[in-house]
């Protein structure tokens, strides 16, 4: 469980990135943190594994104050996949890349071998086992970065902008993958601008603006609220835009999914002619 209590954070250069954020993320939740550029999303999640420590307030991870433990200790529980895989890949081959963190955490050889196999398999990377990570495509590098974090099986997983630079096929796979991890009981936190992606996942949504949380609740409630969405410089999901405009015809506003939309429209067709 992650608890943030009135967290303030100011960067050394004087930029005030967080101005009093309080929230609680329980075990097994799926949360999307959204908001405009510079709203403080990445700054906030960097507090969850102790990379940043609050200048005021506190952050508790499983009831431990992040100021009292090292990043390495927290990282064992909280896996953080950075936005750009090029900021972390450095090994000769994919296999070594994935075992790097496992070695840091002091797993034994046998376990490391098993975990690497498992992670390679999970992300469909087995064929690249001996390839240099630098020779892979952008999407593949992103998967290697994800595999290198998943390998130590952290109970909380943070993904910073996971959909950037991914084609729609990879995005769909990523979505399935995240939902599967979440079903297995992992807490998943994604930081993203991709409102269509979030609309399809329907997680809990936390909207941020100017270093504060401006809304926190179900995707269905928040992503269909034109005012809130605009305040965080996002655009309503396309399906929702259609249904907001169809509101005059008696359609509900709070529609996110394609299948749901199809059902509503078909129902109207079938019933509408009778009316």
């Amino acid at each position: 469980m992650i608890e943030a209590e009135d967290v303030h954070f100011t960067y050394p250069n004087g930029v005030e990135a967080l101005r009093g954020v309080s929230l609680k993320i329980s075990d097994g939740e799926f949360v999307a943190i959204m908001g405009q550029n510079g709203a403080g999303k990445t700054t906030l999640v960097k507090h969850f594994n102790g990379l940043l420590k609050p200048t005021r307030g506190r952050v508790l991870v499983d009831e431990v104050d992040t100021r009292n433990v090292s990043v390495a200790t927290l990282a064992r529980k909280v896996g953080f996949v950075f936005q750009n895989p090029d900021h972390q890949l450095f090994s000769e081959n994919v296999e070594d890349e994935i075992s790097f963190a496992l070695k840091n955490f002091g797993f034994d050889e046998e376990t490391i071998r098993k975990r690497v196999d498992w992670a390679l398999n999970l992300l469909d990377l087995t064929q690249y086992r001996k390839s240099s990570p630098f020779m892979l495509s952008g999407g593949e590098r992103k998967r290697v970065a994800l595999a290198s974090v998943l390998a130590w099986d952290p109970k909380i997983l943070i993904l910073d902008e996971p959909t950037i630079g991914q084609d729609s096929y990879q995005k769909e796979r990523l979505r399935q993958f995240i939902i599967q991890l979440n079903r297995q009981g992992k807490t998943v936190i994604i930081v993203t601008h991709d409102i269509e992606f979030v609309a399809e996942c329907e997680p809990r949504v936390i909207l941020m603006a100017n270093g504060k949380v401006i809304a926190d609740g179900e995707a269905r409630e928040i992503l269909t609220d034109p005012d809130l969405v605009e305040e965080s410089s996002l655009v309503l999901p396309e399906i929702t835009q259609v249904f907001v405009r169809l509101n005059d015809f008696g359609f509900p506003r709070k529609v996110l999914g394609v299948y749901e939309a199809k059902r509503l429209i078909l129902d109207r067709f079938r019933g509408g002619f009778k009316r």
Partner: protein, 259 residues
């Protein structure tokens, strides 16, 4: 990060900012010579304090202080190395004179850092490149020079992100023996270098697509002109240099602590 902030151009308007980069460069050179000229504490302290009005005039006090704070690590290193080497190999000198000499060496370093910081804080990389160009340096070199300066903060920021990313994967810098600690930098340096090379290739392509080198003779939107103020600034700098050479040659400089 904070260290580099003290060398990054601050775009505020001040008298010092308006000086011609060439004038400021001459000032830095004279200061460099003066700092190397003396190895006693008193003149170096004078050099240190006499630059503070310039910092205040340039309105860059905060960044400058940050740089001085950032250089404390190296300053301490220089101090300790001097004390140790003089103590063990310096013959029979009193501890007081060793400390004074070591402080002088430390202040020499700080004076150099200080003058460079004034120069870089108040001179935009573009102006610097322009002044090099007007002094007849080929444009390719000027461009390489300004680009290098411009990418320092970018690299510093990137290094910080890479450090964060590797710490999030359980890397602990402070752990282990000296060799282990050195090896801990491999996961930082490789992504940093690879990204820098990748970026430079992209930059080259972007430049070529914007017609880099299409004409031999480039024109500039701005041209630098030395004003009276700049000549005055240069004259003062050179006068100070002359005075200090005279002082160095003819005036015995007292030690702070008489040994």
């Amino acid at each position: 990060m904070s260290l580099f902030d003290g060398l990054r151009f601050r775009n505020v308007s001040s008298t010092i900012h308006k000086f011609d980069p060439r004038a400021k460069f001459i000032y830095v050179c004279t200061l460099f010579v003066m700092a190397v000229l003396f190895n006693q504490l008193i003149p170096l302290l004078i050099l240190f304090f006499s630059q503070i009005p310039l910092v205040i005039l340039a309105k860059v006090k905060k960044e400058w202080l940050r740089l001085i704070r950032g250089s404390i690590f190296f300053a301490t290193l220089i101090f300790v190395m001097n004390v140790l080497s003089l103590y063990f190999y310096g013959g029979h000198r009193s501890l007081a004179s060793i400390i004074e000499y070591s402080s002088a060496m430390t202040f020499r370093f700080i004076v150099l850092v200080e003058s460079f910081s004034i120069f870089f804080l108040t001179t935009s990389p573009d102006m610097l490149g322009l002044s090099l160009e007007q002094m007849g340096v080929p444009y390719e070199f000027c461009f390489a020079f300004t680009t290098a300066i411009r990418f320092v903060p970018v690299l510093a920021e990137e290094a910080q992100t890479i450090i964060d990313a590797q710490r999030a994967r359980g890397l602990e810098f402070e752990r282990g023996s000296f060799i282990k600690k050195t090896r801990n930098y491999v996961p930082i340096l490789i992504p940093l270098i690879v990204n820098a090379i990748r970026r430079s290739l992209e930059l080259a392509e972007a430049m070529e697509s914007r017609a880099w080198g299409a004409v031999k003779k480039r024109t500039n939107l701005y041209t630098l002109k030395m004003s009276k103020r700049d000549y005055a600034f240069i004259s003062i700098s050179i006068f100070m240099l002359a005075v200090s050479i005279c002082v160095r040659l003819f005036v015995p400089i007292p030690n702070l602590i008489q040994a």
